[in-house]
Structure formats: C-alpha cells, structure tokens
C-alpha cells in the first residue's frame, strides 16, 4: 500500500475512501447488533410477558348471564320466571347511512332515534360494538325487521332473558323486580330510586360482602322484595365466553384455546305465599284505594298472603321506565312503592287492647271480673274528657265484655291501672317496637313509647300520666306494622308462641337437593295460659257475640276469633283494622287487615278478613282431599 501511495495521488483518495467506508461499515455493523440485541430482548427475554399481554389484548370476555332462579308459590305455581324476549341492536360499522337508517327504523320501533347519530359520533372507534336500541320488542316488529333486513343494514336482534311476573299487580311489593346495575351503583353507592317519601333511610348494597363480588356492569340485580332478599341465591353465577376480537371490538369468533365458563342457573325457590289466597285478598280489597293484608300460618310463621295496596307491577318496574313515569310514581299520594305490610307503620288502635288486657292480667291489676267505672260515652281525666267510640256508652262491663264491645272508657282506666312503664314493658316483650326479622328487605320497627322516651321528649317529670290513656287503646304515639300485629295475634291464637315470619319455603339447589326453611320460634308472649285463655274467649266473643264489634267476620261453620280496630287519622277517615284467626279451636291462619281511610274496623276490615279466612279454610279442605282424589282418578280413568 505504501508503495501505491507514492505512485498515484488519486490512490491516496482511494485508500482514505476505503478507510472511511470501513468506519461506515462499522457503524452499520453496530446498528445491526443493536437491533438484534433489541430483538433478542423483546422476543426471547421478554417473550412470555408480551405474549401474555397480547393474549389479553385480543380476548373479549363476554358474560353469559345466568338464568335467574324460578320463584313459585307454596303450591308450585310459577310467580316469577325468565321469558325470552327480543332486543334490537345496531352494529354501527355495518350501518352505512345512519340518517337513512334511523329514518327507516324510527317508525318500525316507534321511537326517536335522533340520539343515535350523536352517540355514534362520540365513539366511532367502537364501531363494532353493538348498541342496544330497544328491549322487549314484540314478535311482529321482529318480523318487519326481518322482512326489511336488506334496507336495514347493521340492525340485528337477539333473544335475551327478561324477568317476568305473571301476577304483576302485587308482585312489585312481595317479589320486587330485577334491573340492570348502573355504573354508579357498581362503584358503591346503590341508592334505590324506589324510595318513597315515607322512608329516608338509604338502602346501600354492600358490594364487598362475600358472594356479591360478582356483580358486573350491565348485569342485573334484584331490587326490593324477594328478588332483593334472595338475590345471591336467585342470581346464580354468570358464565363467560371468550371471543377473539379486533382492536376495534369486532368479534372474529370464539377463542379456540379457551373454553367458555358456563353459567350456573340461579336457585329455584318456593315461597310460603299462597297464590289463590293472595288473589282472594286482592279482590277483597279491590274496592279500596289503599290497605294491607297479612296472613300467617300461626303454627310456623309462614307468610301465606302479603298484599299492599296500591300494588305495583313488577314487570313495569323492571322495564324501561322513563323519568316521567318515575315522577308519577313518586308523586302518587298513595305511595305505591311503599310495601305497607312490613315497611309502613300505623296506630294499631283497638287491636292493641289485647296487649293492655294481657298486661293488666299479668300484672294482676285486673282479672276477668274487674268492673271499672261504667262507660257513659266518655272518661274525664283531669281537665280532659276522653271519648268512647260509642257516644251512648257501654255501661258497666267486665274485662271480657270490654274487649268484645271494645269499650274505650274501660281501657282508659285499665291503662291507668297498668301504668306506662308496665304497659311499655309488656309491649316490648310482645315484640312491638322491633323488627321481626322477616326475610324481606327494609322491615320497619314500629314504635313503643317508654318513660325514657317521654323523659327525653318532655323532660324528666314534665309529662303527665294521661299519655298511657291513649296508648292503652292503641292510639297516640304507638306504631306497628301490619306484620307485627299479625305476629302478635299468632301468639294470642296459639299457646303464646310466635314463629319468625318468613316467605321462603324451600329452595332446590342446582344439585337438585330440596332445602326447606326451618321454622324458628321468635318469642313467647309474656302471658300465662289462663291469661291467653281469657283473651281467646274475648276474641271469639268479638266475632261471635251479638254485641261483638267483629260480627262481619263471622263464618257459619268455622269459629273465627279476632279484634277490630279503628285508628283515628287526622288526615281523613279512620283506618279500619281487623286482626283475627280461625278456626278458634285449632288456628290455621292469622289474618291482619288494614283498610286505609275507610272507617270502622268492624265494618270495613272484618269482611275482608272473613273472605280470606273462608277461602283458606275451605280450600284447605279440598287440598287435603286432593291426593286421594288424584289417586282415585288415576285408578278409574288413567290411560
């Protein structure tokens, strides 16, 4: 080389060119090395990490909603099931001309689709993600869409499960309803819109509690009633199917290497509710605007009937309600969302006289033949006159007759004898003022005033003894739920045992095992056998004595026992009460009837109770014979 440099000038240029080229080749070599190392890092060292992320990238987990458990009444009649319904979706990507499409679609679906364009503009990137246009579209509309599918590109329909309640009118209160979870609810503060003006307590769903963690956006949740109470059981477990999707969400098909998790159907359940009896109670209340009926089996606490008027249709609540419809419900003066049987409290009026009587007997301030000052239509205490409901008075009565004729004057005096402290004590022992623990949501506690309460309210020693006068006849500040009253009468009807009222009779697990709810003794009345005996005699008299106030509940071949009540209502007509049971000698049913703003309990509530009792006991006889009838028919006509 050295020699060459000397020979030619341009040769020097050539050598230097080669040297410079070597530098460039070195640069190229280093670049290739860097790139290869980077590739090695990404594709060999970090490969499994990126592979995992890439997998997640393209997997779209689609929930497979679990079919909700079926709900049946005690006789096996279906009262809540899943009905297939059509839902219309739009795949934006396939709908080329949105204006034209919404123009064509609007009359078919009978809805305004102007929001569609805005919505699509907002997230065009999700053009493969279907948009729900309308739920529960009828078959006729589906046919129309099917016929015109050439003109409706991107419009598809799919069968979804819709919760359906054949007995819509009362199911809203007893069964509740099912509705999709919203974003806000998922994030933690579930405030049910189904709150009436009467209740201020927010219902909060504890999403952290075990079993509830599986809630997902768009998933459904039971609201109110049985659907809410037993949501965990009814809901089942949603499955998942894994689809391969594109970045824009277009589904390419099921993921081959990942099997779907199949959904587990919710638990089927049988309620203690008697559908026929429920219908009977409904029709017995038909002429009234508002009221409540509770029927219990005193032998085990099973809730046979639970009616709250005005009723609310669960199908309606579970459907797509618009804000106007909600407003209408919330502003309805009768508060249709309120389940009166367990969530509303009322003055029990004379139905509570049996508590006062029992307390008096137990504290030995009175006995059967205690005669107090005779009734001349009112009772003077201090400066104030307390009226009896019967202006002409009842004259001189013993305790039993005072109950039968519901003499207020007698009970004013009896109340004074018992005194507030003792009265309040016995009321609490009988279970008033606290929840019964029924398996339905948002049970009200009611209220029993105590000396401590008045001390707080008026100051110690600042209140007068006469407060107990009103309480003794179930007026004043005492408040009970119809369910509590029915429960109390269960104790009165039996040997004093009150079972915890419950609505769930049995469940059938996914494995097919039937689990029956065990009846649970809630409490025993603090009354001795003789006290109960006396009270029973009086309650039989109320219905069956010529002078009794509950004559309209009388049934010819069954002994009905009970007590009427007429709760003073400052806003209008009195609320009519009747709580009773039958047959008196072997009680099978306890019925509490409340008719709001009707008038006298004996006139308005007693006939309702009679209709229910009659229906139950007479049909009960038929039901008892059913097995043998079926056996005979299969012998004779079975083919």
């Amino acid at each position: 080389m050295e020699r060459l440099e000397h020979t030619n000038e341009s040769l020097g240029g050539f050598v230097s060119r080669k040297q410079r080229a070597r530098i460039l080749i070195g640069f190229l070599g280093i670049s290739v090395l860097v790139l290869s190392l980077r590739l090695f890092f990404l594709q060999v060292i970090k490969a499994s990490y990126y592979k995992l992320i890439s997998e997640e990238n393209r997997i779209h987990a689609v929930p497979l909603p679990a079919p909700r458990g079926t709900i049946k009444d005690r006789n096996g009649k279906i009262i809540a099931f899943n009905r297939p319904s059509y839902t219309i979706f739009l795949i934006p990507y396939e709908a080329k001309d949105l204006d034209l499409l919404s123009q064509r679609l609007a009359p078919i679906l009978n809805m305004d689709l102007s929001w569609l364009k805005e919505k699509l503009k907002a997230n065009w990137s999700k053009k493969y993600e279907r948009i729900k246009l309308k739920k529960e579209v009828d078959f006729k509309t589906i046919c129309v869409i099917e016929e015109q599918n050439q003109d409706l590109p991107g419009v598809i329909y799919q069968v979804e499960q819709t919760r359906s309640y054949p007995e819509g009118s009362w199911a809203g209160h007893v069964l509740g309803y099912v509705k999709e979870l919203s974003k806000g609810e998922l994030s933690g503060d579930l405030v049910s819109p189904a709150k009436s003006a009467d209740s201020n307590e927010p219902t909060s769903l504890d999403l952290d509690s075990p079993g509830k963690s599986s809630y997902r956006l768009g998933g459904s949740i039971g609201r109110e009633g049985v659907e809410k109470q037993y949501d965990d059981l009814l809901r089942g477990k949603d499955g998942m199917t894994f689809l391969e999707v594109t970045a824009a969400g277009k589904i390419l098909g099921p993921l081959e290497d990942r099997k779907p998790d199949l959904p587990t159907k919710g638990t089927d359940m049988k309620l203690t509710i008697d559908l026929d009896l429920q219908a009977e109670a409904e029709s017995a209340l038909a002429t009234y605007e508002s009221g409540a009926v509770v029927a219990l089996d005193p032998k085990n606490g099973e809730i046979l009937t639970l009616v709250s008027k005005p009723g609310i249709d669960a199908n309606f609540l579970g459907g797509a309600l618009n804000p106007e419809e909600w407003k209408e419900i919330l502003q309805n003066p009768f508060h249709p969302l309120l389940s009166r049987t367990i969530q509303a409290t009322y003055a029990p009026a004379s139905t509570l006289k049996l508590l006062t009587a029992g307390a008096a007997l137990e504290s030995k301030v009175a006995h059967r033949d205690t005669y107090l000052s005779p009734c001349f239509g009112s009772y003077q205490f201090g400066k104030r006159a307390f009226r009896c409901w019967r202006p002409e008075g009842h004259g001189r009565l013993n305790l039993v007759d005072a109950i039968i004729q519901s003499c207020d004057v007698y009970f004013y005096q009896l109340g004074l004898k018992v005194g507030l402290e003792r009265w309040s004590h016995y009321a609490k022992l009988c279970g008033f003022g606290e929840q019964m623990g029924v398996d339905l949501p948002e049970e009200a506690k009611g209220f029993i005033p105590s000396p401590e309460y008045y001390n707080k309210k008026y100051g110690k020693g600042e209140w007068v003894k006469n407060l107990v006068i009103n309480l003794a006849i179930g007026q004043g500040e005492v408040l009970v739920t119809p369910l509590q009253l029915a429960g109390f009468y269960c104790g009165l009807a039996t040997d004093g045992t009150i079972y915890r009222p419950h609505i769930l009779k049995e469940i059938t697990t996914t494995q097919g095992r039937v689990i029956t709810t065990q009846s649970e003794v809630l409490r025993r009345l603090p009354f001795s056998a003789s006290t109960l005996e006396l009270l029973k005699e009086a309650m039989i008299g109320v219905v069956n004595d010529a002078s009794g106030t509950g004559g309209l509940a009388r049934i010819s071949d069954v002994t009905v026992a009970g007590k009427t009540g007429t709760a003073q209502n400052p806003f209008g007509e009195a609320h009519a009460w009747f709580v009773g049971y039958a047959p008196a000698e072997n009680p099978k049913i306890v019925v509490a009837v409340l008719v709001e703003n009707a008038g006298h309990g004996g006139t308005f509530a007693a006939p309702v109770a009679k209709a229910i009792i009659e229906k139950y006991l007479k049909r009960g006889i038929i039901a008892d014979q059913k097995d043998s009838i079926i056996a005979v028919s299969s012998l004779n006509f079975g083919n």
Partner: protein, 374 residues
C-alpha cells in the same frame, strides 16, 4: 477495460428471497384487513404481486442497461424530483400528510424519487469534483442547497423520517467521498438545529418524541403503534407463532402490512426470522459496498454506494421504529413492506447495482480512476 461479466447472482438471490418473503408476509398481514376494508382478502396482495412482477422485470432489464447512461439525466432527475416535491404539497393529504402523488393508478412518494435522484446526482457530481471535495465552497454549493431546499419541502409534507434518511445518505456519501469531517459537521449543524427547532420549539411531533423517549425503556407505555408492534414481536418468541397465525394484525397493529410488516414477520416468524432478515440486509449492504469498491469508475462507486447505503438506512430506521427504538417515521421496510413506490424504487436501485456488478473486476486492484467510464 470493462469486464462484461455476469451480474452478482448472490446479491440477486438475496433480493429475490426478500421480495418473495415480503410478498408472502404482505399477504399474511393484510388479508384480514383487506377483507374488512374491501371485502376481498386479496385486495392488497394482488397489487403487491403485480408490483413484485414489475420489480423483477425492472431488475432484469436494468441489469442489462449500462449504468453510465443515467449520468446524463442526473441533473434533470434531480430538478424533476424537486418539482414533484412542490407538486405533492397540492395533493390531498392522507392521514394529515401530503406525501403521495396520484396520477391515475400510479401512487408514489416523490421523496422516494428524490432520494434516488439525489444519489444519482451526487454520484455524478462527486465523481467529477473528486479533487475539490475538500473545498468547503464546493461542498456547500450545490449539495447543501439542494438538500436544504428538499428538506424544507419534505418537512412541509410533513415527512420527518424521509428527511432523516435522505440526510443520512447525503452525509454518508460526502463522508466516503473524502469531505473534511469538520465541513460535514458544519453542514449538518444547521439541519440539526432546524429539526430541533421544529420538534421542540414549535411542538411539531412533540407528543411523538415524548412517546418515543418513554417507549425505549417501556415500550408498552409509549404510543399505540409501538405498543402493538412490540407486543407482536414479543408474542412471536424465538420461533414465531407460525405463518398466518399472528394476532396483532387483527386491527391491533395499524399498518400491519406496510410500515409495520416487520412486526408481523416478528410475530409469525419469531426472533430467528427477524435476525435472519437483519443479516440478509447486512449482507446485501456489504455486497453492495463491495460492488462499489470494484466499480470501474467513481460514478459507479458513488452510485453503488449510495444505493446500498440508502437501502440499509431504510432498514435501520424501519426496524428501529418497529422494535421501539425510534419514533414512528413512516419509512417502509425495503422489499418487505406493502407498497409499489418503495418496492419499485428499491428494485430500480438493485437493477442499477447489478449492472455495476457486471462491470466490476473480480480482483480489486489499485488502478487509475478515469474521469469518464466507457
């Protein structure tokens, strides 16, 4: 003097392998996309096959055309391509960039044409000014003027990637021609300042630059394309998921068949294929440089050098983007990416290179390089 021998079949083989592999991978990467966009999975591949055919034809023809014939058109090509750089600005921008000229069925990037026109012009010019190369005046004028104007025009499109690749080829040619290093620095300084100002002071592609800095160490936190590209490469592993089995092309990876076809190759072919391709390109470049050094004259040297180097710069930039070391630039992978413009220009370059290879001597020996060739 000239040894009319056979072309460099080894180089031809590498190019054939690359174009064939590119065609297969373009099909694999684009079929689903094509079906989605045009309801025809062969929409892209049928065009690519046509272009591949044209490319092979051009390589075949140009191998036979004496490269010296281009020299007289060098200035004309340069002027013509610079006019097109102005014209392109009046075309409808695609995705915010006016990079393409459409005349009937022909769609191409004038910046691509300019790159080869510049190589041709510089080969012509440098071979004549060999003795003045150390003179700053001759370096500044006309080269810097040409590059400066072209860079500004291409920036206007905007196409920063093209400016970078052209500048690198330009500097490499001047460097190898023997320009003083301090002169080169003097030339590149204003260019660097201009780019710096554009990027940072005026916020041009600032987001991309931020994304880029982040994506070097955390590729998944950078921009979307880089993330998807790296995921594709990563899930390919050592051996790849298999031809046609890649998932990133399912609309996760934008442009799976064009600028990011290397990511698709990496996913389906794995590290081994990627490394193999890098080595092929490296050998191709070395082969090109070896042809340059055995070229019968300086024009041939600079032409062969410029062509080889420009191919390699494109590979470097494209692969750098795909592996997340460079910000997205819009430079395709030569021979592999979908697109007629890139493929045909690269093939024209290969045709020229093969013709030069036909005129080389097998034993490089120091010889007096004449001012003219034949």
């Amino acid at each position: 003097m000239i040894d009319k021998s056979k072309p460099d079949y080894f180089l031809l083989a590498i190019v054939t392998i690359l174009i064939s592999l590119g065609t297969v991978m373009v099909y694999s990467a684009s079929a689903i996309l094509a079906d989605d966009r045009f309801h025809s999975s062969i929409y892209f591949i049928k065009k690519q096959i046509l272009w591949a055919g044209i490319s092979f034809f051009l390589i075949f023809v140009l191998t036979k055309v004496d490269y010296h014939k281009y020299e007289r058109f060098a200035k004309f090509f340069l002027l013509f391509s610079m006019i097109l750089l102005v014209v392109v600005l009046f075309f409808q921008p695609v995705k915010g960039a006016a990079r393409w000229i459409r005349v009937g069925p022909i769609v191409f990037q004038p910046s691509e044409l300019f790159k080869y026109a510049l190589v041709l012009f510089m080969a012509h010019s440098l071979s004549r000014r060999k003795n003045q190369i150390k003179n700053l005046k001759y370096v500044f004028l006309p080269y810097f003027l040409v590059l400066g104007i072209a860079s500004l025009l291409i920036m206007k499109e905007p196409h920063l990637g093209a400016v970078l690749s052209i500048s690198m080829i330009f500097l490499a040619l001047l460097f190898v021609a023997g320009t003083k290093v301090k002169h080169l620095l003097l030339i590149s300084a204003p260019l660097a300042v201009a780019i710096f100002l554009l990027v940072f002071a005026f916020g041009y592609k600032k987001q991309r630059v931020d994304d880029y800095l982040k994506s070097i160490s955390h590729p998944l936190e950078g921009n979307y394309q880089t993330k998807q590209s790296v995921l594709g490469l990563g899930s390919g592993g050592v051996g790849g998921v298999g031809l046609g089995e890649g998932k990133q092309k399912l609309f996760f990876l934008p442009e799976p068949h064009t600028d990011f076809v290397f990511a698709t190759i990496g996913e389906e072919g794995g590290f081994l294929t990627c490394a193999g391709i890098m080595i092929l390109f490296f050998i191709l470049t070395l082969k090109g440089l070896s042809i340059a050094f055995r070229a019968p004259d300086d024009f041939g040297f600079f032409l062969a050098f410029g062509i080889s180097f420009s191919i390699f710069i494109c590979v470097l930039i494209n692969a750098g983007v795909v592996v997340g070391l460079l910000p997205t630039t819009g430079i395709p992978m030569p021979f592999l990416s979908y697109g007629g413009s890139s493929l045909i220009f690269s093939s024209i370059g290969m045709g020229m290179l093969l013709n030069i290879s036909r005129q080389t001597r097998y034993v490089p020996s120091p010889r007096v390089l004449g001012k003219t060739g034949v």
